[in-house]
């Protein structure tokens, strides 16, 4: 832009000054988020790596204090291998990590087939009719429902099953799987499966909308070519359209799962906020799965805790050490989420580069 002079217009210089100031304000606003993110990470990270300064201790247990001081930081290898404890310096997130892992796996198992199936129906089968419009409007409204309302729904529908079954009756559904049986308690009560189903309801709208966008981006020439070769509609979808839309679907699913991973409120109302000193199905390592394969089937019906819940519990604790444990838990959670986000971005990038149309 040319240098404004008085010859052109009397106010032009001022207008340019205003414009420059406006640009700086906008630029500052853009950086604001980055700065907050940086401050957040630094303050949490610093807390995660230090213990609070020790107060003056009575002399008789000074040796214990020295021992406690020698543990390096809240975020250490021990933090990953121990359960929550009443002694803050021995507490860890083993139960929470396995709980979160189970949740994510179950949510993915439920939400991916249902979500992609819905999207396929809406995009490929339904014509522009009243039903499709109804479902679309419904989806956009469901996406805006606060997570706490889903939590209420989960509590009513899964934990208590609308009162159709009562806990005292101790009813359970025994499913026979040829070689073994699964004992499904009715109602589900405060178990992993209730939490996973609630989170599934929560992320389904996101998964469906993302999958729909991915399916819509597949050009119709792919479909017509497949039909021309004699494939049926399902064959076309199964072997052409869905594989072509897979990267987009994956990106949407990973982002939705990372959202589910950070949600605490729904799990809280389900009542998962209890002291849990075991992992679902007693599986604490991969080798346990082979030692006790039945644990895999029992795990969904175990009580559980999850990372955001454990963090909330520590935040609410009055002792100062727990605030630092919470920070350590947050660092673990953020690392996992960041990895998931990066993975999604990488997939999208690859997809954008290698698109064939």
């Amino acid at each position: 832009m040319s240098v404004p002079t008085k010859l052109q217009e009397p106010h032009l210089a001022r207008r340019h000054r205003i414009g420059k100031a406006f640009e700086w304000v906008c630029c500052g606003s853009t950086w604001f988020g980055v700065v907050v993110l940086g401050v957040l990470l630094l303050s949490v990270g610093w807390k995660a790596l230090t213990w609070p300064p020790a107060k003056a201790k009575p002399a008789n247990n000074s040796t214990a204090t020295v021992d406690a001081q020698s543990t390096s930081a809240p975020l250490s290898t021990k933090f990953f291998s121990s359960y929550d404890s009443r002694k803050p310096r021995e507490a860890g997130i083993l139960a929470a990590i396995w709980g979160s892992l189970w949740l994510i796996v179950l949510v993915a198992l439920f939400s991916v087939p249902i979500g992609v199936g819905s999207a396929v129906y809406l995009e490929e089968y339904s014509n522009e009719g009243r039903l499709k419009r109804l479902i679309q409007v419904n989806l956009s409204n469901l996406a805006g429902v606060p997570s706490i309302v889903y939590a209420l729904l989960g509590m009513t529908a899964f934990v208590k099953m609308f009162g159709f079954f009562t806990k005292d009756e101790g009813k359970s559904l025994v499913i026979n799987l040829l070689f073994t049986t699964v004992d499904v308690p009715l109602p589900f009560d405060r178990t992993l499966i209730s939490g996973a189903l609630t989170l599934t309801l929560l992320v389904l709208p996101t998964v469906i909308v993302a999958s729909q966008e991915a399916l819509r981006a597949v050009p119709s020439s792919i479909r017509t070519a497949s039909y021309a070769l004699g494939a049926t509609q399902w064959q076309t979808i199964r072997y052409q359209v869905v594989p072509a839309a897979m990267p987009g679907i994956m990106t949407g699913v990973i982002l939705a799962l990372s959202r589910a991973m950070g949600e605490a409120a729904p799990l809280m109302l389900i009542g998962a906020l209890t002291y849990v000193a075991y992992t679902p199905g007693d599986i604490t390592s991969v080798s346990d799965i082979f030692k006790n394969p039945h644990g895999l089937l029992d795990a969904p019906f175990d009580k559980f805790t999850a990372l955001p819940l454990q963090i909330y519990q520590w935040i609410n604790h009055p002792r100062a050490e727990y605030a630092h444990l919470a920070a350590a838990g947050i660092m673990v959670l953020l690392t996992i989420l960041l990895l998931m986000n990066t993975f999604a971005i990488v997939i999208r990038h690859k997809f954008q580069k290698s698109t064939r149309w």
């Binding site: 832009m1 207008r15 340019h16 205003i18 406006f22 640009e23 906008c26 630029c27 500052g28 606003s29 853009t30 604001f32 988020g33 907050v36 957040l40 303050s43 249902i114 199936g117 819905s118 129906y121 809406l122 339904s126 479902i135 469901l142 805006g144 429902v145 606060p146 706490i148 309302v149 939590a151 729904l153 009513t156 529908a157 208590k160 609308f162 009162g163 389904l204 469906i208 049926t232 399902w234 982002l255 959202r259 950070g262 949600e263 605490a264 409120a265 109302l269 009542g271 963090i311 909330y312 935040i315 605030a323 919470a326 920070a327 947050i330 959670l333 953020l334 989420l337 986000n341 971005i345």
Partner: protein, 330 residues
Amino acid sequence: MSLANVASPLTPPKAGLRLQKQFSWVRAREACVRAMLLGCASLSLLTTLAIVYMFLTEAVYSVTPDTTAFFQDVSLWDFLTDTEWSPQFADKHFGILPLLCGTFVIAGIGSLIGLPIGLAAAIYLSEYAKPKFRRMMKPVLEVLAGIPSVVYGYFALVFVTPYVLRPMFQSLLRIDVDIFNAMSAGVVLGVMIIPTVCSLSEDALRAVPRGLREAGYALGSTKYDVSLKVVVPAAFSGIVASFLLAISRAIGETMAVCIAAGQMPRLSLNPFRSMETMTAYMVGASLGDTPAGTIEYKSLYAVGFTLFVITLGMNILANWVMNRFREVYE
């Protein structure tokens, strides 16, 4: 099949007669798959029905004769006008006003911070920023949007209150700042809605065609004039819709507010005191393990219903604004 329909080989089939489909396994599979996918798609309708059924039976009118719903015990008038919310005390009051007040004060502070910053960032990204900068910034904003709200609550509690609010207001202006206060919750809520506002508004701004901008330049406008007086008004519907969606998210936000603002229902406008929002009440009530059937338990549904109605109303309004006032450019 009647006799008249059986076409003899001599008479050609009537024009209206359909071709008869032969049964084949492929066709059966196609129909099966289609029905299953329809089942998946209608699950979202089922979710909505379940939500409505839950609120109707637990809050409005109970279907089972031996239990009562919330509004059968507490009159709607008391619920809306009573100025006290004390379900845990012996003298129970169920006035939603303190919770509504907390919700709107905190969401208001969040909007005052988040909406202008988000819009300014959107204007910068769409009008001023170089494409490279934009490509770099977008993922950062996505990360910001992906941070769980528990983390924001913790941030408000251990950083915003002691290192930002207390030095600013307590040391300089001599205003008492509680450990749990509405202000810190509002500040982090503002940060949380920035990505929503920014990405939705930016989409609206970028949808404004180049021609409008160039016409502005041709008339001698500066970039500032074009951005603020041409592009922003042209994208107004999208921006308003993004604002409404962000506010509705702020109202429904749970964990950050619950951690940062505390759980003290209070009908006041002082943002430096502890306040309770509707969402925070629901979390707090569920922590105490309230037994089903008690009035405290049913109040969960009444509060949830209020929240649901408010956020649904705002979302519908946002969609309506988007469709009604959208400028369609060729």
